[in-house]
Every structure is written in structure tokens, then in C-alpha cells.
């Protein structure tokens, strides 16, 4: 029986922030196994990993209240702009596909947030990949391949550590020292539930991380020089890593996922026009596939200290729109893709310039392939006979 702990929020959490605050509570304290906020934003229910002493409980409550205050106090009510609304499109399934995916062996959970897929999901993902590659062709996007590791130095240059510290995944290795390596090989063991029994000082300082996004690699490759021809369209698919703490429970939030991106670099009007053209192209593609979804204004999941200002800025300047697919089994939606405009943020921070010397603007269209497939299965089930004909035919090709 899990321990639960209810907190009366020091200030009412506005309805538009309930989801955002709730997701951040997973990072407040290692004792929190799950968190939920009442619809009126007044009560916070925490599920704890074990019983806490009174002093620990008070410290936990203080941390929770500070997060609520930091994120909600003086929050600007966002403009909600809906560019497309196809949520009422007919679907044929209303169950959670996850139990069947697990029981059939189509999905296996290697570790929390780490999943392997069988042939059905793999082929379904390829169906969606073909749509995105067709879009990339439409724009004459040049293909790129990027590493799974990403430079700590470069991520620091684009202020990633300040904005998204909570979701980082670090890469390290044993220090190149004979005693350390021999000691590890003789004594290393996984001790559940704590992990490897290796002392932290055996590991090297962090020079690289596991990549949180695909397009950053392109911007890093273009850094510190003028952009040849003044504009560029590129595409790549890659592994991405975002640690989601206790939020990682199903394919909705995976630690390791793959993202396909179409990336635009050039003057502002070039980026904005192409972002819009991509959205219009995909609107037709998703209609053909029968997906039920909505495209609406959104913001990135900035951490607590940066959240209020950065989210308000993104909203005010309409920098991000999410494609949120219907999940009929929970009467909710899941972000499966996004249309992003970064203004000249990467151009300025990485010194990528246009022929006139001004910083480039950038934008991207990004889709999480596993989430796309999961949302599709949540709408149409695992039996291809119940899928929309174009998807079934593409699946069988």
C-alpha cells in the first residue's frame, strides 16, 4: 500500500498550468512516486515511495510549495491558438493499447522508460516515416546523419542546461586509470534497486550527453561561420533522450525515443513560410491516414526557474505549435509532433550568419515516431483490419 500525502496548495494553480506543474512535481524529490493536482488547482496529492518522518515531510511540502509559487505566481494567461481541429475524426478503438502491446510481446520494457518494439510497431513506424520523408522530398531537404552523443560544451552554448536541466541524460566512462578499470571489472555489479555499485569518482567528468533533440546537431555543425547560400533545408532521424522521472510509465513518455525532423535555416520569412507549408502538407497527409488530432499553441517543458518567462515568451511570439493526437481511452490528447520557430536564438548563440552578416533564423518540424504509432494504435487498435485503408495498405507494402 503506497503512502499518500495531500498538500493544500499555497496558491490556486490556474487550470492552464495544472498539467505543467504536475509533470514538474516528479522532479521535486526522490520520495515522490506519483503526483496529481485536483482540477480546481487547490490540492496536491503525492504518492510516496515510503513513509516519511515529520521533518522530511515538512521539507518535501516546502519544496512542492516553492515549485507551485515559482511556476504559477503572476503567470500570464496564454493565448490559445488552434490551427487545426480534427479531434472528432472517427476512430475505431477506445481501449488503452499498452496492456495488449505488452502481453503480445510487441513491446517489451527493458527498464523504466526503455522499450523495445516488435514487427507490428516497427512497420507502423515505417509507414509514418514514409510520410515524413515524402514531406522532406517536397522541400528538397538534404539528408543528414547525427550522432547519439552530443557535446556538453555546445549544449552549454545554447543555454540548454539552464532551460531543461531536469531531463538531461549524461554520458560518461571509467577514468583511464588502471586501478579504476581493474577495480570496476572485478567488483562492478548491478544492485537493485540502486543501480551499479560503482563509486562516482570512478567515472570521468561529463564531456558528452545523450542527445535531447535532432536539430541541435545541425546548428552545431553550422556554428561560427556564414551559412552557405543563406538558406538550408535538412532532414534527419535520430535517437533522443529526455529523462521524465516518475512520469515514464508507458509509450507516452519514453526516456529514449526517435524523432524525425525537417529543419529550416535562413532568413525569418523563409523559416516561417516553410514551417507553415509543412503544416499544410501534413494536414492533408494526416487526413489521408485518418488520424484524429488538433494543432494548438504550446510551449516547451522548461524547468521551474525558467518556466514562467520562457513559456510566456514562446506563447506570445507563437513559436511553438503541437500536434496533439486523440487518446480515446483516456479522453485526452498526446503531443506527437511540433512545428517550431526559434527566431534567431541559435543564429546568435552559435554565430551562424546570413550573407548580410545578421544571424540566421531557424525552425523545425519534429515528430516522435513511437508516440505517433502509440497514438494511432490508441485510435485504431492492434488489428490492421480495423485500420484506415491507406495505413493498412502502406503497412502491407
Amino acid at each position: 500500500m503506497p503512502e499518500t500525502f495531500e498538500i493544500k496548495s499555497a496558491l490556486d494553480i490556474p487550470a492552464h498550468l495544472v498539467g505543467q506543474v504536475q509533470s514538474k512535481l516528479a522532479y521535486v524529490d526522490e520520495h515522490i512516486a506519483a503526483a496529481s493536482i485536483s482540477p480546481d488547482g487547490q490540492r496536491i496529492q503525492l504518492e510516496l515511495t515510503g513513509k516519511l518522518e515529520s521533518a522530511e515531510q515538512q521539507a518535501l511540502e516546502a519544496k512542492v510549495q516553492s515549485v507551485v509559487e515559482e511556476m504559477a505566481k503572476g503567470a500570464v494567461l496564454p493565448k490559445v491558438e488552434i490551427l487545426e481541429d480534427h479531434l472528432v475524426r472517427p476512430t475505431t478503438f477506445d481501449q488503452d493499447p499498452m496492456p495488449e502491446l505488452l502481453s503480445s510481446g510487441e513491446v517489451s520494457e527493458e527498464h523504466t522508460g526503455i522499450f523495445s518494439f516488435g514487427p507490428l510497431l516497427t512497420r507502423l513506424i515505417e509507414v509514418f516515416e514514409r510520410q515524413f520523408l515524402a514531406l522532406a522530398d517536397e522541400f528538397g531537404a538534404k539528408p543528414h546523419r547525427f550522432p547519439t552523443l552530443i557535446s556538453a560544451e555546445k549544449l552549454g552554448r545554447v543555454q540548454y542546461f539552464r532551460a531543461f536541466p531536469h531531463s538531461l541524460t549524461f554520458a560518461t566512462h571509467l577514468r583511464p586509470d588502471l586501478d579504476v578499470i581493474n577495480g570496476f571489472s572485478q567488483h562492478a555489479a548491478y544492485e537493485a534497486p540502486n543501480g551499479l555499485n560503482t563509486a562516482p569518482e570512478s567515472f570521468s567528468r561529463i564531456q558528452a550527453l545523450l542527445s535531447p533533440a535532432v536539430c541541435y546537431h545541425l546548428y552545431f555543425a553550422l556554428a561560427d561561420k556564414p551559412l552557405p547560400d543563406g538558406k538550408l533545408v535538412a532532414t534527419a532521424v535520430g535517437n533522443c533522450f529526455r529523462y521524465e522521472s516518475s512520469n515514464m510509465t508507458t509509450l507516452e513518455r519514453m526516456w529514449n525515443f526517435t524523432m524525425r525532423e525537417i529543419i529550416f535555416v535562413g532568413p525569418a520569412d523563409f523559416v516561417l513560410e516553410n514551417r507553415e507549408r509543412a503544416r499544410q502538407y501534413l494536414e492533408k497527409a494526416f487526413e489521408h491516414l485518418g488520424l484524429a488530432y488538433r494543432v494548438e499553441s504550446a510551449n516547451d517543458p522548461f524547468f521551474v526557474g525558467e518556466f514562467r518567462r520562457q513559456a510566456a515568451f514562446q506563447n506570445a511570439f507563437q513559436l511553438k505549435y503541437e500536434l496533439r493526437a486523440q487518446l480515446p481511452f483516456k479522453n485526452s490528447t498526446l503531443a506527437v509532433g511540433s512545428y517550431n520557430y526559434h527566431q534567431d536564438f541559435f543564429g546568435r548563440n552559435l554565430d551562424i550568419t546570413l550573407p548580410d552578416g545578421k544571424p540566421v533564423h531557424t525552425g523545425c518540424v519534429a515528430f516522435g515516431l513511437e508516440r505517433m504509432a502509440f497514438a494511432f494504435l490508441a485510435q485504431f487498435g492492434l488489428d490492421p483490419q480495423r485500420w484506415p485503408t491507406p495505413v493498412r495498405e502502406a503497412f502491407n507494402e
Binding site: G74, V76, L77, P78, K79, E306, R308, R309, Q310, A312, F313, Q314, N315, A316, F317, Q318, Q343, D344, F345, R348
Partner: protein, 81 residues
């Protein structure tokens, strides 16, 4: 408030938020001209303007106030409303 007095107050607010000398801020300054006038700096500026002039800046307006002339026009309009 006279036009000059309003400009002086807006300029001193920008100088304080972006940690520069007032003399570095001209009447045409805009988003991106000063090293700290970026996305985070812009939101700091909006809060500072609200506090300095006792006005409320809406989400709809934040994206329009990206230059000194736009800020002057908007603050003047709110104060005289």
C-alpha cells in the same frame, strides 16, 4: 507625462533590466540590439515595465513591444486610457 520624460523613464528601465548605460539605448532600439535583450530579457523587461508604469501587459501585447517606439506608444496609451 511629457514625451521626453516618458522616454527617459523607459530608457532607464531598459538600462536597469539589461545592465547597460542609458546612453547606449537610442530611441530606435529594438529586440536583439542589446546583448541581454533576448527571450528571457524580454520577459524581464515586460515585468519591469509593468512595475515601473503601473500597467498590465497582456500575452497578446508582449510580442508587439519589441522596440522602444512600440513600448513608448503602448505605455503612453495605457497611461492615458
Amino acid at each position: 507625462m511629457s514625451e521626453n520624460a516618458l522616454f527617459d523613464q523607459v530608457r532607464s528601465t531598459l538600462a536597469e533590466v539589461f545592465d547597460v548605460d542609458s546612453a547606449e539605448i537610442n530611441a530606435e532600439a529594438q529586440f536583439g540590439d542589446l546583448p541581454k535583450w533576448d527571450s528571457m530579457g524580454h520577459m524581464d523587461l515586460m515585468l519591469a515595465l509593468e512595475s515601473a508604469f503601473g500597467v498590465q501587459i497582456s500575452a497578446e501585447t508582449i510580442s508587439q513591444l519589441t522596440s522602444v517606439p512600440a513600448i513608448l506608444t503602448h505605455v503612453d496609451g495605457l497611461q492615458n486610457a
